[in-house]
Amino acid sequence: MKQILLVDDEPVLRSVLRQFLEFSGYEVVEAGDGTGALALARRQRPDIVLTDLLMPQKDGLDFCRELRTDPDLFDVPVLFVTARNADVAQREEMERVGNGFVVKPFEPDHLLRTIESLLA
């Protein structure tokens, strides 16, 4: 069973998404910000990371950059979840540092297809 690290500062969405992903056949570990997520990732070494872009303390991009410097974690796929009004520079940075992004509000099916394609 593939393990997903879900990082979001919004607990309700995080909870609902965890249930949806677990129902869809994934093991889910979750964190509320970038700092906690980094520690969790080092401990669990997830198959894929799903992270919000804008978070307090350490945002998704910084978290992802640190992940890329970790010798054990540098190749873990990272999918960003973001708002549509993210600017062009941010999008380019997300594609460069991470492996893709989905824009809120997204259709859950679309999210599943994207995760599947990154894990394939």
Binding site: E10, V12, L13, V16, L17, Q19, F20, F23, A83, R84, N85, K104, P105, F106, E107, P108, D109
Partner: protein, 698 residues
């Protein structure tokens, strides 16, 4: 008038001719009289001289004979001596023809001629019968044909006799008695050749003239030419005085050969007339020319005067206009001196025009024109021909108003700027209005910003709950519902929840897009985008949905690329939205046609459907935000933002959008963009082979 002047020239010429003719007719006789007088004077002089000279010669001849007689008286007659003495006398005096000696008995003893002596005693010749007249001491013998005391053999006497001329003047003899103690010893008779003595000399000395020589008894002794009578009253007579008598020399002067002829005067007069008439003609012509010029000049002066009068009238009219306009008008010379100010300006400044005129503009505080400002105005007007300025003016009474002043150049006839024309008006009300409007605009912009911020923030805040709801719905449908045996009615409720949360999600999506578009002040990224490529890709996307409820989409593309400048994502959203709309409102039995056309300057994308159509009343509003067309009987719902976003994106890419629709027949939305400049299209786009140009998609 000119004709009259020409006539007067002719009259002047005629008068000159008449005066000349009269002058000539006086001149002609006067000139001739003068010539005659001159000749007559000459005749008088010569005649007088000749008469004196001839008298002297006669005297000399007589003296000669007397001297001969005296010598014989003293020495006695000696044939040889007489002959010698006589020959000497003959040689000295050519007037003497011969000298004879008669003895006391009256016998003709000897004749001495230039040819030699001749003894007359022994010849048979008769002594001439001579009548004597005494001239001084010498007796003059006038020989006539029948009166000859000389010998018949004498040539002279013979000649005289042969002529038989009673009045023949030729032979004159002078006799001088030879007396010794009062006893007559003999007589010397000399023949004097009057012709030789007088006539030849007169002929040679007198000017060409006729003359006669009369003796004291009035008998003609000689004439020239021979046989001539002097009868002309103009003849002059000169006395030739001998010792005891006087002859008359009458000379008729010949008319001078150079006497003037009347035709001289005719020709001379004509020449003089010509010499006079020609200048008169020339002067006349010059006068005429000058007159023509004068008349032209007068006409021009008159025309110019009229023009000036009308200009003056025009100027007065303009001055009246300038005086009466409500705008303040002012003329400022280049050195900043006010040359003119109208009453309106003075009124506006609450002063008199005399307070402004001829003052330096910078010294009139109310005008608020500093020297620097004036310099700038002068420079700008000189360069651009115009300048507009608004300034606050403070009147002398402290009140203020706003003036809008237009400055233009005052130019002279050569177009050189000589001053500034300033036209000002009170724009206080307008300024107040503008201030109000600016304030209102600022307020409005602030409100707009607040609203946009609110929408942005609100929609941003909505995206997470919307995502949560969608995920919850997915869980409900896929995880929870299968666990329970839902009634049909319950499943319908779950479906309704699913659709409405999806719509909520789309609405948040659109709101975010609207907020983003509104926030984008900059243009869409300018890249080359092939409209055909975008249309094909979007239509393929719809085909993948494989929705049996939707109508087929037909794609018509041009042979080559149809490239425009714009943003690929924006163009995809435009095409996707239009095709999605068309499919939504068209039954499965209908058809949606997407057409891309290209001309030299434009690229056109048309999305046509055979759907329900849009009522005419709704057409003007379909691009408004949140405007939704009411379609009774259809359950199709939208956010009301799609077409507004499309219109905004098209506008940002410098395109146009138009819609035409007939209810029940279908709708066509047409979007046009400027074609990208030739050569800017990316090569790989041109290389893509899209065929066929018409493609029907199920």
């Amino acid at each position: 008038m000119i004709k009259d002047r020409a006539v007067s020239v002719r009259i002047a010429q005629l008068l000159a001719g008449v005066v000349l003719a009269i002058t000539a007719s006086f001149l002609y006789p006067t000139y001739n009289a003068y010539l005659e007088y001159k000749v007559s004077n000459e005749v008088r002089r010569v005649g007088t001289e000749a008469a004196q000279r001839e008298a002297e010669r006669i005297d000399n001849t007589l003296i000669e004979i007397n001297a001969l007689a005296a010598r014989i008286a003293s020495a006695g007659f000696n044939r040889v001596a007489f002959t010698r003495a006589a020959q000497d006398a003959l040689a000295r005096n050519p007037a003497l023809g011969s000298i004879d000696y008669f003895n006391a008995d009256g016998e003709h003893v000897l004749l001495v001629a230039p040819s030699g002596p001749k003894d007359m005693l022994h010849s048979k010749a008769k002594s001439p019968d001579v009548s004597f007249q005494t001239i001084s001491a010498v007796t003059i013998v006038q020989a006539r044909a029948d009166l000859t005391k000389s010998v018949a053999a004498s040539d002279v006497l013979r000649m005289a006799r042969r002529r038989g001329d009673e009045n023949g003047p030729l032979n004159v003899f002078a006799a001088a008695p030879i007396m010794i103690k009062h006893e007559a010893q003999g007589e010397v008779v000399a023949r004097i050749d009057i012709r030789s003595l007088l006539i030849d000399d007169l002929v040679s000395t007198l000017p060409p003239a006729k003359f006669t020589l009369d003796d004291s008894a009035g008998r003609q002794q000689a004439s020239w030419p021979p046989g001539n009578e002097v009868t002309n009253p103009s003849a002059q007579t000169f006395p030739i005085k001998f010792a005891d008598r006087q002859w008359e020399l009458a000379v008729e002067p010949a008319l001078p050969a150079q006497l003037a002829k009347p035709w001289w005067f005719v020709v001379g007069g004509l020449l003089v007339w010509l010499v006079l008439a020609w200048p008169i003609e020339v002067v006349g012509q010059i006068n005429r020319r000058v007159r023509v010029l004068n008349e032209g000049l007068e006409a021009r002066v008159a025309a110019r005067t009229r023009q000036l009068q009308s200009t003056v009238a025009e100027t007065r009219k303009l001055a009246a206009v300038v005086e009466s306009v409500s705008e303040g008008v002012m003329l400022v010379s280049l050195d900043g001196t006010i040359r003119y100010a109208n009453a309106a300006l003075a009124n506006a400044l609450r002063c008199k025009t005399s307070d402004l005129t001829d003052k330096a503009a910078q010294d009139i505080g109310a005008l608020a024109l500093s020297k620097a400002t004036l310099d700038e105005i002068r420079e700008t007007v000189g360069r651009d021909g115009y300048m507009y300025l608004e300034n606050a003016r403070t009147r002398s009474d402290g009140s203020t108003y706003w003036a809008g002043v237009s400055f233009t150049a005052q130019r002279d006839a050569d177009g050189k700027m000589v001053g500034l024309i300033a036209v000002s008006r009170d724009i206080t009300d307008r300024r107040a209005l503008v201030d109000q409007l600016m304030t209102a605009k600022g307020d409005l912009e602030r409100q707009m910003r607040v609203r946009a911020d609110f929408i942005g923030t609100a929609s941003h805040e909505l995206r997470t709950p919307a995502t949560t709801l969608r995920t919850l719905c997915a869980l409900l449908v896929s995880k929870i519902a299968p666990r329970y045996s839902f009634e049909e009615e319950d499943r319908a409720l779950v479906g309704l929840l699913d659709r409405e949360t999806k719509r909520l999600s789309l609405l948040v999506d659109d709101l975010l897009e609207v907020g983003k578009i509104d926030a984008e002040e900059a243009r869409r990224p300018d890249a080359d985008v092939d409209v055909s490529d975008v249309a094909r890709s979007e239509v393929d996307g719809f085909r993948e949905l494989d929705d049996e409820q939707a109508p087929p989409v037909e794609l018509r593309l041009p042979a080559g690329a149809a490239v425009v400048r714009g943003d690929d994502a924006a163009l995809r959203r435009v095409v996707g939205n239009l095709v999605g709309n068309a499919r939504k409102f068209t039954p499965a039995s209908g058809l949606v046609t997407v057409t891309v056309e290209r001309s030299a300057t434009r690229v056109r994308l048309a999305v046509a459907d055979t759907g329900v159509g849009i009522p005419e009343a709704d057409l003007p509003h379909i691009f408004d935000r949140f405007y939704r067309v009411e379609r009774p009987g259809t359950a199709i719902r939208g956010t009301g933002l799609g077409l507004a976003i499309v219109a905004r994106l098209v506008e940002q890419m410098h395109g146009t959008i138009a819609v035409s629709s007939v209810v029940g027949k279908g709708t066509t939305v047409t979007v046009e963009f400027p074609a990208a400049a030739a050569g800017t299209a990316a090569p790989h786009l041109q290389a893509v082979d899209y065929e066929p140009s018409s493609q029907k998609l199920a």
